[in-house]
Amino acid sequence: MTALEPAVSLHGVGLSFGANAAVRDISLDISPGEIVTLVGPSGCGKSSILRLISGLQTHSAGTIKIAEGQTLSFVFQDAALLPWASVARNVMLPLSLDGGEDLALVNECLAQVGLADRRDAHPAELSGGMRMRVSIARALVRRPTLLLMDEPFAALDELRRFDLAQQVRQIAKTTGLTVIFVTHSVFEACFLSDRVIVLSASPGTIVESISLDDDEVRSADFRESQAFADACNTVSLALRAAAGEDL
């Protein structure tokens, strides 16, 4: 257990729409700098948990505590870029809504995701993977301490997914960023995270929390390691049990 105050703390959190519960009794502490992934069957409320943490949705039960001084950024499933604005203007958006502009910072964030040379392009000129990287750069431009990512790589091919997951992990580990990541992919979850949280079918509740080695470097070699295979197997079994499959 870390002695640090959790970056995010959920206690007995529930979300209901009328009589229908989306998630129930979610209790979870996430340490600063930790990368946590939520996996679970479709419709189990993974995305709802992110929306609750971000404040985009109001919880119906329990408490959510975000440590003081946290700056939060959100990366959605779709890149959600302004089609009329250049890459640089898109990345600048959070700053300009705040009344500021910092071109040097925008360039730095674009360089972090490997798109420094595409700053003047429009989203339509970019591939799906590039658009998602712009979306990540836009999230980084706020210099967040807490990054919420809702299945950001779902529409990309496997190779591109691993590339981006590797980049996200590298950025998070070098900047001390706390990441809460939602995915359907067991491989992605095990490759990216320090901890994988497995949720049950709707209404989602935590059924398992699996910690992985928090070694900073996760390269292509890691994907071929026994440790990775074991982690995938453990998460997979937990997920199948959570979905109610007979094993």
Partner: protein
């Protein structure tokens, strides 16, 4: 590109040649169907008068279109801000749309009065033009990407920032495609209104056609019709060009 222009042009030349030959061979009276050469001559002879009439109709069309733009923008924003207001008033907008304008035009003439004939014409053309703009704008406002709306909310954008930096630009494609339809309808509305007003206007292209019809000058009617169609086509392509310039790069054109 060349084929796209040359093929219909060639078809038109063939049709006109056939028309010219058939009218001569069958000895059709000019007041029933004048040969294309007569229509061409009428176009050249009455060029100044036709241009002045076209300008009058165009001014009327664009004034009505401008009013329709402002009206539909305001209404779509009010409707998108309040579901109750939309539920209350949208059916009346539909009633206005489905009622044939030709049926209510005389009423508008009576209410506004022949002293303000231009105002009556603008009202009629506006009524025809405004509905497609209203529906496309409402649709455009509704279909803004939910993640983008969430993003603006998350990053603390106020209502004004959300309107100026998200809603307004995001509805531009819907607005421009609605504008292409509405501009054509505004022109039709202006011509219908001029027809209903009859000699009350004494200036526009519809009046030119009415007057030529009364004198059985069919070639002049055709000449006015050609100018009218040309205006409609030019207006459509001008707006299509504007659409491409403003939003083409959104889809990578």
């Amino acid at each position: 590109m060349t084929r796209r222009i040359l093929a219909p042009l060639f078809a038109a030349i063939c049709a006109l040649a056939l028309w010219e030959v058939l009218v001569g061979a069958l000895d059709v009276k000019a007041f029933i169907l004048p040969p294309p050469s007569d229509i061409g001559a009428s176009l050249l002879d009455g060029w100044a008068a036709l241009l002045s009439a076209a300008w009058h109709t165009l001014k009327l069309t664009w004034t009505a279109l401008s009013v329709a733009i402002v009206l539909s923008l305001v209404l779509s924003l009010v409707f998108s801000a309040s579901k109750l207001v939309e539920l209350t008033f949208y059916p009346y907008a539909v009633v206005l749309q489905v009622t044939p304008i030709i049926a209510i035009a005389p009423l508008i003439m009576i209410w506004v009065g022949l002293d303000n004939i231009d105002l009556a014409l603008i009202i009629i053309a506006t009524l025809v033009a405004f509905f497609p703009l209203l529906t496309t704008l409402i649709q455009g406002l509704r279909s803004i990407d939910r993640s983008l709306k969430d993003l603006f909310k998350l990053y603390g954008a106020n209502r004004w920032q959300t309107f100026i930096r998200l809603q307004l630009p995001a509805t531009l494609p819907a607005f421009l495609s609605g504008l292409k339809i509405s501009a054509g309808l505004a022109l039709i509305g202006a011509v219908v209104a001029e027809f209903v007003a009859g000699s009350g206007t004494g200036q526009g292209l519809a009046w030119t056609m009415l007057e030529a019809s009364n004198r059985l000058k069919t070639d002049r009617m055709f000449a006015a019709l050609i100018v009218l169609s040309g205006m409609g086509v030019a207006q459509y392509y001008l707006l299509a060009w504007l659409e491409d310039k403003l939003t083409g790069h959104w889809v990578g054109r």
